[in-house]
């Protein structure tokens, strides 16, 4: 059974179409990055998956309809919708008490174990904690829940780089195993690149790229082309070209590696560069998109 299975998912707010026939399938045990520009429909897609918003089309999460079976679904699904949604008036200990009280799959000792590594004191009020500490607390709560799907929407927004790195490290080492699925959206693509097993680009309410990381590595290649060979390289129809110090970097989709090696150094593109290429082309601005 697929963890998430959507067919023809649509959602519009008045005249604005947020999701325009999205098809996606996420198998269990994957870590999927859903990446898109602002207003691309990421949050709407997540809200539909979490049963927070009604939608048109077919959608199954862990075999359930998230809108009509939300109450049962939330036993198996966790999410961090945003940083700083933990109630500010609560004490750390109360947050543990409450989640332990309402969630049948919450392991309190596990959460306390995670928290003991941080400087969070149980008596402390959440409003007195720094943004990074609140995120740590939320992550500790979520990681102590034995859920099958974890959804993270910009979980590290506004955190400094140390916290961000720590966040994904503990997620990988302490939480993830092959039976769980993680769906994450973020703008800081570089930091999750090494974590992901799959990547999906969304733009204008549509999925524009959907592939595993292995597929991405075999399909897309980036070549640092020497100036005298740029014309030859362009003949191979790169999907994107950008200028860097000392030459041009051209990005190719499904072009033979040997052929490209003759033109310069070949490497796997970074997701951020691929994103700029794919989304940039889509928006009709093939070159010079924000770097």
């Amino acid at each position: 059974m697929a963890c998430i299975d959507a067919r023809g998912l649509r959602k519009s707010y008045g005249a604005t179409v947020a999701l325009d026939g999205v098809n996606l399938r996420v198998e269990e045990g994957r870590i999927l990055g859903l990446i898109g520009p602002n207003g691309a429909g990421k949050t709407t897609a997540l809200n539909a998956i979490l049963g927070l918003t009604p939608y048109q089309g077919e959608l199954r999460v862990l075999g359930r309809d998230p809108w009509s079976e939300r109450d049962q679904l939330m036993r198996d699904v966790c999410f961090i919708a945003d940083v700083a949604v933990l109630p500010r008036w609560m004490r750390v200990g109360q947050a543990l008490d409450y989640v332990a009280g309402v969630h049948p799959r919450f392991d309190r000792s596990k959460a306390e174990g995670f928290l003991s590594r941080t400087s969070n004191a149980l008596r402390q009020k959440i409003k007195k904690l720094s943004k990074g500490m609140v995120t740590q607390l939320h992550l500790a709560l979520v990681m102590a829940i034995d859920a099958r799907l974890l959804v993270l929407d910009e979980p590290t927004l506004g955190l400094d780089i140390l916290f961000r790195k720590q966040f994904y490290d503990s997620l990988l080492t302490d939480y993830f195993d092959r039976s769980r699925t993680i769906l994450v959206t973020t703008h800081q693509v570089e930091e999750i690149e090494h974590v992901l097993t799959d990547v999906m680009f969304i733009n204008g309410g549509r999925i524009v790229l959907d592939c595993s990381m292995e597929e991405l590595e075999s399909r897309y290649l980036e070549v640092m082309v020497r100036p005298e060979q740029v014309a030859a390289a362009r003949a191979l129809k790169p999907i994107h070209e950008r200028q860097v110090l000392g030459g041009s970097v051209l990005l190719f989709d499904r072009v033979d590696r040997q052929q490209l090696a003759a033109l310069g150094d070949v490497r796997t593109p970074r997701i951020a560069d691929l994103f700029v290429a794919v989304i940039g082309n889509q928006n009709g601005q093939a070159q010079g998109v924000a770097q």
Partner: protein
Amino acid sequence: MNTPSNAIPGFPAGSQAAAPAVSSSMRPFYWSIRRELWEYRVLYLAPLMAAALLLLAVLVRTIVERYHMHGVLPADPAQRFLPHQHFELAAALIMGVGLLVGLYYTLDALYGERRDRSILFWKSLPVSDLTAVLAKLTIPLVVVPVLTFVIAVAAGIIMLMLGSVVLLGSGVRISELWTNSSFFYVALLWFYHLLLVHGLWYAPIYGWLLLVSAWSPRAPLVWAVLPPFVVCGVEKLAFNTTYALAWIQERFLGPSHSGMAGNASKNLAAELIPQHFFSEPGLWIGLAIAALLLLGTIRLRRYRGPI
């Protein structure tokens, strides 16, 4: 009262001991109620503070009365030193404070969680909208009346004890103070009044406030007050009648047979018969309206996100 997590009146201290007794389907409800009391500590702190101030006032009064006694024993010491009017006034004030914080709570309960975005956290846990809204309704309907009753009774007993201590050695027989006091008689009436009037009779008011709280994009107080105001005005202008106003007034003042603390002391026994109250059609109409408003509220909480 700086340890709210295990010092909430009305709830057993040491949640872990109490939790297994609660059946698994009631657990989310039980914890939802507890979390409301963590968030809105004013629900019990305000009546407690009111009670403390009233006790202080009564203490001063009794001391002054004793000083003015000049060795002449009054015929009826209970009536002289701790008349039932004192208990009633104190209870009415404590209940009034409870009612006010209850109304404030109800209007903020579903608005506050959207404003501070914590609704995204509550919704990430397996607690249904039905459970969440019912818990929020239970606070003004049951929890606040019971809390204010406990506080009012405790305040009454402390009043009697303080009075006894002050009058020790004054020649007044303390036992007479206790046996002649109408306090225990009045206490029953409070409980009846709190549960029926502050609970059931006010149910449509709580329902309306919860609905506004779940819906309003901002300024819930304005949205709560404005529509009834407009309805009354339109009715007056269009038909030159004041049915809406009369209805709202009756809602707030209580039904004629409810046994309001003020007029009740005259005929306690008759007022304590719930028959009058439950035969009042207004009660059942009110409860039906409350149920509809509640359904709307549950639906709204499902759809509405943070603001």
